[in-house]
């Protein structure tokens, strides 16, 4: 069990569980990992597996080399003058143990004999992971483990990393700027903003019930702004800044953020029947097809994004400049504080 109590941050990660920390750049994600590892000054309390690593009150501050952390650096920081195998052995693992670990991660002995500068990005990432795991760490800290990879290998590397981490018993913290990646890699996701954790929970829970417009935006939801007041049938109506209105089943009053997920937005030629269905007339700004999905950039009174099947995009004959009606249910509309 890892317990971290620093200013603005209280975390607990149990054995075998994984916490993903995400937030915008400059939120302090890397600094938090460095503080846990003892590479950066901190004040508060850090405890891992019954050992106290940091206690500002008792003036305890265990040196980084004596905290048993497995640290995966953002650009991997492999020793360029040592072979991949020697890199893994550096932390004290025996040669057979190091090679067995590399084998498990798909690095064969011939590749393991090579020096890091000659390896591909994916190979370097797995060698660095093996190196961090080789010393049997009490806590595993991964700083943007996938950001140095090119976008095409990233999704596969994310699934492989998830499988590898599932077999790790040590409490694990993964830092990433990408919410989807955080959702894939962590059992729970914590959102960090300006050095403070603003919300923590399961990824699905954060997406469904964002505590603020900031969190909603980070989870990839569309966020619009407006003024809420009570409406008929216990619903809330929000008059959007710039014109138009939407209904929500959430309760709110005054200035609010309206959050809706792109995949909950449907597009049509004409306004739908039934008044409880939200609909906004919008201009098509951009169309990005990703496999069988299409992301449609729209501009109503405020910008929004819809995600529909590529087939419907074709059927609707969408093209930049065209006018469509974006619709979604009042039940899919979250009202969040700004």
């Amino acid at each position: 069990m890892l317990r971290v109590e620093l200013e603005g941050i209280a975390l607990q990660v149990g054995r075998g569980s994984r916490l993903a920390i995400t937030g915008p750049s400059g939120a302090g994600k890397t600094t938090l990992l460095r503080r846990i590892a003892g590479l950066a000054q901190a004040s508060g309390r850090i405890e891992c597996g019954g050992e106290v690593w940091l206690d500002s009150v008792a003036r305890t501050d265990v040196a980084a080399e004596r905290r048993r952390t497995g640290f995966l650096f953002q650009d991997y920081a492999l020793f360029p003058h040592l072979s991949a195998l020697a890199n893994v052995e550096f932390g004290g693992a025996s040669r057979p143990a190091a090679q067995a670990l590399l084998d498990r991660l798909g690095i064969d002995p011939a590749t393991a004999a090579r020096k890091p500068p000659t390896l591909s990005g994916g190979e370097r990432q797995r060698v660095a992971l093996a190196r961090a795991l080789a010393r049997d760490p009490a806590v595993l800290l991964l700083d943007e483990p996938l950001s140095a990879l090119d976008p095409r290998t990233r999704a596969r590397a994310a699934r492989e990393l998830h499988a590898t981490l599932a077999a790790v018993d040590a409490p694990t913290i993964v830092v990433t700027h990408d919410f989807e990646e955080a959702a894939t890699l962590g059992d729970e996701v914590a959102i960090l903003d300006a050095g403070r954790i603003v919300q923590q929970g399961r990824a699905s829970q954060l997406a469904a019930e964002p505590a603020s417009a900031f969190v909603a935006d980070l989870t990839g939801a569309v966020v619009m702004t407006g003024r809420a007041r009570a409406a008929a049938d216990g619903l809330t109506v929000v008059l959007l800044d710039g014109g138009g209105h939407v209904l929500s089943t959430d309760e709110a009053d005054g200035v609010v953020g309206v959050s809706v997920h792109p995949w909950d937005i449907a597009l049509a030629d004409s306004p739908p029947e039934g008044s409880t269905v939200n609909h906004l007339e919008a201009r098509v700004d951009s169309i990005t097809t990703i496999g069988n999905r299409a992301r449609i950039g729209l501009h109503a009174s405020q910008p929004l994004t819809a995600e529909i099947t590529a087939a419907s995009a074709l059927r609707l004959r969408l093209e930049p400049g065209a006018t469509v009606v974006a619709t979604w249910k009042a039940t899919a509309t979250r009202l969040v504080p700004l």
């Binding site: 590892a37 003892g38 590479l39 040196a63 980084a64 080399e65 004596r66 048993r68 952390t69 497995g70 640290f71 650096f73 650009d75 920081a77 492999l78 020793f79 360029p80 003058h81 550096f90 932390g91 004290g92 890091p116 500068p117 190196r131 961090a132 010393r135």
Partner: protein, 274 residues
């Protein structure tokens, strides 16, 4: 259009200026070295090497400069690491002190050494009690060499350690390596090229040491008369022999410089972050 044409003219005369500056530099630095070899016939070279006093002087130079270099590496490397990795209040003063011999006139360095370590120097009594005599001894030659040459190495070593990617040392730290292990297994191999270059500079300076050696250790044949001192003695009485000795010194120095260049060319570790 006119402005582009004007710029071309401008860059034309500037390129010519740069080429002229480079040509002048090459001529000025190269001519004396070439003249040396033009003036020395192979027969002179061989006969000068047959002269036992020249050979003694060369051997003494190589031995003392090798010992001086070993001492500089052994003590200077950890000292440079300390200066590179720690911050303390008197550090700027200390760094200036380390660099002082770089700008000190060698004769002044010799006097300073006498004042410190000579028979009547401030530490002379201590050395005397320990049974150590430096003045007019081979050990004195080594002391003079270390004094004038070590700053060349320490400065370069400190800069090389400071230029290391801090993430490398942090990675070693998270892998449980205490400082001694980080120094030996990570810092030394990664700073290798810079350390070698610094060592070559320091060795070259030690090999050429003249003023401080003369003042502190004297010029006794076979004991303290290094090649530069022998060369100076010869120059008044036997110019061709002096030329031959100079040619040998140039050849040895050039060989070391080329060897270091070859050793540092391979394995550019620094490119690892790309």
């Amino acid at each position: 259009m006119t402005s582009i044409a004007a710029q071309r003219v401008h860059s034309g005369w500037f390129t010519a200026l740069l080429a002229a500056a480079l040509a002048l530099t090459l001529l000025f630095l190269g001519l004396p070295v070439i003249a040396l070899f033009v003036n020395v016939s192979p027969a002179d070279l061989i006969s000068s090497l047959g002269d036992s006093s020249s050979v003694d002087a060369l051997r003494l130079s190589l031995e003392t400069s090798a010992i001086a270099l070993a001492l500089i590496l052994l003590v200077g490397t950890p000292a440079a690491w300390t200066l590179a990795t720690r911050d303390f209040r008197l550090k700027p003063l200390l760094v200036t002190l380390v660099e002082l011999p770089l700008v000190l006139p060698p004769a002044a360095a010799g006097i300073a050494l006498l004042a410190a370590l000579g028979p009547h120097g401030i530490a002379g009594g201590l050395l005397d009690d320990a049974g150590i005599t430096l003045v007019l001894t081979t050990a004195g030659v080594v002391v003079a060499m270390v004094f004038v040459a070590s700053p060349f190495y320490i400065r370069q070593a400190q800069a090389s350690f400071e230029a290391l990617d801090p993430r490398m040392l942090e990675a070693a730290q998270t892998l449980g390596a205490p400082e001694a292990r980080r120094f030996v297994r990570v810092a030394l191999p990664l700073a290798r090229n810079g350390l070698l270059a610094g060592a070559a500079l320091a060795w070259g300076r030690a090999l050429g040491e003249f003023g401080a050696t003369l003042m502190f250790a004297g010029s006794l044949r076979g004991v303290t008369q290094t090649a530069p001192l022998a060369l100076y003695e010869r120059f008044a009485t036997d110019f061709p022999a002096a030329l031959a000795l100079a040619a040998v010194l140039v050849a040895v120095s050039a060989a070391v410089l080329i060897a270091v260049k070859l050793m540092t060319r391979q394995e550019p570790h620094a490119a690892s972050r790309a």
